[in-house]
């Protein structure tokens, strides 16, 4: 499951995430991080589900971090797609690729729902779910 974390000014310098990783033993993957003087935003992939995921989120919340589950993903209308490839290289996490016939492959588990491919597609074949 992918989580979007928002840090406020108060907790930005603290090692909250590393504490929780050590405590739960869940190895996370940081997909995107934007730290500004007053706020921090991070997109992480937590490779777990159910109770363990709940525990992970609630530890973050208790430390004052806002947590949002990212379930957004995209859908490609194959009838409209002209297999141009315009959406492929701009995808920041390589969730889109082309097979040997140049048809588009979508790796849903990698997608972070950023929406870049949606507006990039010249024939409007991708929509956000």
């Amino acid at each position: 499951m992918k989580l979007k974390l928002n840090y406020s000014r108060e907790n930005i310098g603290k090692p909250i995430l590393s504490d929780i990783i050590l405590r739960t033993g869940i190895p996370i993957n940081i997909l995107e991080a934007k730290i500004e003087p007053n706020t921090g935003e991070m997109l992480i992939d937590v490779p777990t589900e159910g109770e363990r995921l709940k525990e992970f989120s609630s530890l973050l919340q208790r430390a004052g971090v806002t947590v949002k589950e990212i379930t957004r993903t995209i859908e490609i209308d194959r009838g409209k797609c002209i297999t141009c490839g315009a959406c492929v290289s701009p995808c920041p996490v390589k969730a889109l690729a082309q097979d040997e016939n140049w048809d588009i492959i979508f790796y849903e588990e990698k997608c972070i729902g950023c929406g870049i491919c949606v507006y990039t597609c010249p024939v409007n074949a991708i929509r956000m779910l």
Binding site: C84, S89, Q98, V123
Partner: protein, 505 residues
């Protein structure tokens, strides 16, 4: 050396004879390359009669001539719109030219001339609106109706520049995402986009322009069209040859003609083109056998908003098509904008047509020139540059200046931006009046505690529009002007620009 277009291995008549009897050997360029690898160029050239090519990409210089027929009472249309997209009406009463990049007056970027052409070809109903001033012979002043392609007398695709031999690839060296006619480009050389079908590219397969010329019959948008001559900006000496083409929209098919939108750039038309290459001599065969590995193009930095964009790297189509390009030791994802799949499909379809005897080759009336001029537009009237309108009387701060006293000076002088310099006048940072107000509230003391160190700047000789665009992108209202050693020369603010430019006649 033999003359361009010399029919040494076979004549057009001989090829057509073989097509008629079903004996012509036709191959796509992909297969011809393999044949040459297996049996050598000489033998392959002897055996193969025709090599087919294909490309399917965004071609902005495209459009259609349309004749609506006369209404009762008749109208001399002065302005006209198809689905709210304006068409060019500087022609006779009911003729117009609809360009692919014209945009809908109601839907903007989402719908344009390219989309209208696709909708026409798909048989959809199109809203036609026209206005006129009324004459003795054409009394009607307006029209509002719908048309389909079957209602039109002529619907002729006529594209002034198509099928570039190859095209530049694109990347972006700036620190922000940009949206261009080369698609979305991520910051810090985050990706590479390219266009053109490489070893299937129709014009690259006739590099010497031995067979393409006025009248050459081609696959166009799913129908049969022809080459009218060289295209605009034709520059074959730089491997940027182009062609002008025409074809009947009524024969075409929306799989090979698609309206498209490039985000924050505009609308265009994806056009499918395939050219049959008759192997009339060995030079033609050698060109038709060129492989992706041998076709190179420059990857340009589209982050530089100038007509002379720097080349980051020269790459082959084989590297570009592999999906990964190495730039400065890093592996960057690359992807195309034109469809490699549809390009291949076009070459295969064209091969099919010839084998079935549904398509014959023809000798052009005149070959496309193998040389062309491609000059930039030099501007004759003097345009203001940054140096002409920047403010030179400057308030410049030092990093150790006291925030409160600086705030007082800025208010007294009514300035919003304070560049901060070191002892030699070199730019170190910038502060806005907003930063100062915040700092006073937070009880900060010296400028260096609050200054922004990553400063967006301008150079003295830059065009105003370039700097305005930069300010828009960074959402700022002023930039320090610096020389090549980063010494501050002045400030340019949105205020300066509006004050000076509004006075223009």
């Amino acid at each position: 050396m033999s003359k361009r277009g010399a029919e040494e291995l076979r004549t057009y008549e001989e090829i057509n004879q073989k097509i008629k009897s079903g004996d012509a050997i036709v191959m796509t360029a992909d297969d011809f390359i393999k044949t040459v690898e297996d049996s050598g160029l000489k033998r392959a050239a002897k055996e193969v009669d025709v090599v087919t090519t294909g490309t399917f990409g965004a071609m902005c210089s495209s459009g259609a001539f349309i004749n609506f027929g006369h209404s009762e009472p008749p109208i001399k249309m002065f302005k006209c719109w198809l689905n709210d997209v304006p068409a060019y009406k500087g022609l006779a009463a009911v003729d117009c030219y609809l360009g692919a990049t014209a945009m809908s007056e109601t839907k903007g970027f989402d719908y344009g001339g390219g989309h209208v052409i696709e909708d026409l070809v798909s048989g959809k109903e199109i809203e036609l609106r026209a206005e006129a001033y009324g004459t003795d012979c054409y009394p009607r002043r307006s029209i509002e109706t719908t048309v389909t392609i079957d209602d039109l007398n002529q619907a002729m695709l006529l594209n002034p520049r198509n099928a570039y031999e190859r095209y530049n690839a694109a990347t972006n060296g700036t620190d922000r995402i940009i949206h261009t006619y080369m698609g979305t480009l991520l910051p810090h050389y985050g990706n590479v986009t390219y266009s053109g079908s490489g070893q299937l590219s129709p014009l690259y397969k006739d590099r010497g322009f031995e067979i393409i010329g006025i009248g050459t019959r081609i696959f166009l948008g799913g129908g049969i069209g022809c080459v009218i001559g060289e295209g605009t900006q034709h520059s074959p000496q730089n491997q940027f040859g182009t062609i002008m083409v025409r074809g009947d929209l009524k024969q075409m098919n929306n799989r090979y003609l698609r309206g498209a939108t490039y985000y924050k750039y505009g609308t265009t038309l994806y056009v499918g083109i395939g050219i049959p290459i008759p192997i009339i001599n060995e030079k033609v065969a050698a060109s038709a056998a060129l492989k992706d590995e041998e076709i190179f193009t420059d990857i340009l930095d589209y982050g530089v908003p100038s007509r002379s964009r720097p080349s980051v790297k020269r790459a082959s189509y084989s590297e570009l098509r592999s999906g990964r390009v190495e730039i400065n030791g890093r592996e960057i994802t690359s992807s195309s904008l034109s469809s490699n799949k549809v390009a291949k499909e076009i070459a295969t379809n064209l091969k099919g047509w010839i084998e079935e005897g549904a398509f014959f080759l023809n000798r052009p009336a005149e070959l496309v020139p193998d040389h062309g001029e491609f000059k930039p537009l030099e501007l004759r009237r003097k345009e203001p540059r940054v140096r002409d309108i920047m403010t030179r009387e400057l308030v410049v701060g030092k990093p150790t200046d006291d925030i409160k006293s600086v705030a007082r000076i800025l208010i007294a002088k009514g300035v919003d931006h304070l560049p901060i310099a070191d002892g030699e006048g070199k730019l170190m940072g910038i502060i806005t009046s907003w930063d100062l107000a915040k700092a006073v509230a937070q009880d900060k003391r010296q400028l260096h505690e609050i200054m922004t160190m990553k400063v967006v700047t301008a150079k003295e000789d830059e065009a105003i529009d370039t700097v305005v665009r930069r300010m828009e992108q960074h959402n700022i209202s002023g930039v320090p002007v610096v020389d090549h050693s980063n010494r501050i020369l002045g400030m340019l603010t949105v205020n300066d620009i509006s004050k000076k430019l509004i006075r223009r006649p």
